[in-house]
Symmetry: C2
Subunit: 267 residues, 2 copies
């Protein structure tokens, strides 16, 4: 699996060399060893040393590589696991999380059928209405941390369940990272769209923020979703981020909530 392990530039992590930095930069920043280790593991994941779905080295190996105890590596991995960046499997190893896994499939889609059984509904049927390169509007540029006018890929599609159109959504993706994304690709790919992004473009979405509103369907939207004009719909605006908190997708969804609901758990 992992190739060479010599590549550990800051493996000075050895003897608690945490603190003493040149006082020049006003950063008294003390960060615990395990946080530094976490950062190094994260960095290796970003750089593709271990790809989504692959196993990372065992705790023992990582402890040796970073010259720390297994417990310290463990705490670093604990945090990565808590953030869903990594999945632990007892007796097997620790794996880089991926959207291409059955049980983690719809991690970002909180819409559930009122019956509560999403599995019984089968996979969503996708209809791609549009997939084109355009220039970013000011708004899209702001959301994606681009400049207005930069190239973006815009996708419009409908998701249906049991043949009933339920979600109408528009996606905007940075043009450079998603060069070559086509309607055929988005239609034909079997599995979650985010898995396609991982596999074809090497972009893994790690977290997302959503702003939810109730809106009335305009005539075009109503026609596409097969509801009456002005019907109340759930508007879900999502910004999804990759590893560095870099925004990589803006998505605006309109959800029908006559047969489904958005489910959220608070704690």
């Amino acid at each position: 699996m992992s190739t060479a392990m010599a590549q550990t530039p800051s493996s000075s992590a050895a003897s608690g060399a945490a603190t003493s930095e040149p006082a020049a930069s006003a950063t008294p920043a003390f960060s615990p060893l395990y946080q530094q280790i976490k950062g190094l593991i994260l960095q290796s994941m970003q750089e593709g040393e271990w790809k989504p779905g692959e196993a990372i080295p065992s705790e023992m190996e990582l402890a040796a590589r970073f010259r720390v105890s297994q417990g310290t590596v463990r705490k670093a991995i604990d945090e990565l696991a808590a953030e869903n960046l990594v999945v632990r499997r007892q007796g097997k190893g620790t794996y880089v999380a991926t959207h291409a896994e059955q049980h983690l499939q719809y991690r970002f889609l909180k819409l559930m059928p009122d019956s509560g059984d999403r599995a019984g509904e089968g996979p969503a049927e996708r209809t791609v209405l549009e997939c084109k390169r355009v220039r970013a509007t000011a708004e899209v540029a702001r959301a994606l941390a681009l400049r207005a006018g930069d190239a973006v890929v815009q996708v419009r599609r409908i998701l249906s369940f049991r043949g009933v159109p339920t979600i109408l959504e528009d996606l905007w993706l940075p043009g450079t990272a998603f060069k070559g994304l086509s309607a055929e690709q988005m239609t034909g790919y079997v599995g979650p769209t985010y898995a396609l992004f991982e596999i074809e473009f090497g972009v893994r979405m790690v977290r997302a923020e959503e702003k939810i509103r109730a809106v009335g369907a305009d005539s075009a939207q109503a026609a596409l979703l097969n509801v009456a004009q002005a019907s109340p719909l759930l508007s879900v605006e999502r910004i999804a981020y990759t590893y560095n908190d870099a925004p990589m997708e803006l998505r605006r969804g309109l959800y029908r909530t006559d047969t489904h609901h958005y489910r959220n758990e608070l704690s």
Copy 2:
């Protein structure tokens, strides 16, 4: 538990560590020591040994009490902290979480002003329209795990921000636990409603589930929220639970989302 080793008094931690309590025993399943400790701490919180806002014993004290190492207690508390049941403060101690704290105030209210600054908005102004004892409908009974016809307290109120009515909500609470709840109490109390529930009725909400939909305002709702009839509103149905996963509140909110939005973070 399996170890028979002298250094691993796991059984004594589970049963013998019950110190003064009756030790509900009947601990059937096998679970790690730290999970058992977590359960015991939880139990003490439920029983009111330490009340919301108070400090629980130090890790060392708990370790002695349960006859386990500090590390094991630490892992138990780590989980409780991750579930927001407890708050750690370095150098001071570990405290039972409470809704009566400034920075944890609106833990269950995800509606944000579009400006993003909820603090700048000031506290919500509450108008209680109704607070009465009624008999549970089948639906309310199901949500609260009661029997249809059982007594419940029903509250209807409006929350306004900067004088603008923004949320219309109905609450249903089990009649036995909330005997004596009055409109004056709900109006006059300074602080989150959940803090009032904690202090006056000893009921602490620990987690909640929400089902969100887009709906159109009927004429009565429209009048109360000062919007046009059929305006799209966010319908938020919440069931809040106490310690034992016992449902203690059903709440149906209608949120205006023309100036606010429901903010959610996915990971």
